[in-house]
Symmetry: C2
Subunit: 143 residues, 2 copies
DNA sequence: GGATATAGTTTGAATGTCAAGATGTTTGCA
DNA sequence: TGCAAACATCTTGACATTCAAACTATATCC
């Protein structure tokens, strides 16, 4: 007979489970786009951020080194999904921004996220949805 | 002025945000263990599953090909974190299970997860925690 | 008993990753 | 001003991850 599980243990397990499922969902969706997961992640970060970013800033947001980012941006630039433009006042820097094609890809991917969110929260009551959002807000604030 | 965000859009954004933060938290924790993220992920899946698994089963659970898994298991076996043992009735198969050292690593990592869960849910009321768990259960059931 | 399917490994190619070093630019200070 | 130090990015070399496809050994089905 398994030991009784504490409330924290159950929550932890559920969070891990949710993470795993989101992860494999994302993997499936990305596969159909032709990009690698890391490439799509880059598009997502740049797209979500909105404003153009320096390499250094983007690397920090993504948790990779600038060396890694250089080749990532090279490839995405070859696919015309984003563009380096010279920084106005700092000639060492580039500003990274999505092209029109990149924005379209980002928008499409965003729609997938919205659809998933609708699906997985479909059975929640109005009250549960509101409370879930409030709790998520608190949790994210703690991290 | 930004367009008003629908409730679904807000939830979607929060889920993405939570995912991102869990992801970078895990990356930091794994870095301190000396293993790569993929290696730790393998340990987590095998450890969480409990029973010994065939290569094929494990590959499916992890969403990788068996070819990928072969070299992953090779490396983890070299580090004595898990072991291949012959399948009792099918001589084509191995059963993959954690060693004592692997179980210790898994237990330690599991403790990190518990601690994180406690931290991020610390400000929730008893009621909120219960409801959050119930909603997570529903959501996971929908995926 | 032989054809076919299955489990796992190997190989070759592409990508992702980092640390360390190189290049060009900016900043701070003497 | 002019030079040293800091900074942003890129390059290089090494290794990990990943897949598809070919390969080996075993199991299953007729």
């Amino acid at each position: 007979m398994p030991a009784p599980m504490t409330e924290t243990a159950k929550l932890s397990q559920q969070i891990v489970e949710l993470y795993e499922r989101l992860s494999s969902w994302e993997q499936d969706v990305v596969k159909s786009s032709g990009l690698s997961p890391a490439q799509m992640h880059t598009i997502e970060i740049v797209g979500h951020c909105g404003a153009a970013l320096r390499m250094k800033e983007l690397a920090k947001k993504m948790g990779v080194t600038t060396g890694t980012l250089t080749v990532m941006i090279d490839r995405l630039e070859q696919q015309e999904l984003l563009r380096r433009s010279p920084h106005q006042t700092d000639r060492r820097s580039y500003l990274i921004a999505l092209t029109e094609k990149g924005r379209e890809l980002f928008a499409e991917h965003h729609q997938y996220h919205l659809r998933l969110t609708e699906e997985i929260t479909a059975t929640l009551s109005q009250e549960e949805r509101a409370m879930f959002s409030a709790v998520l807000g608190k949790i994210i604030g703690q991290m």
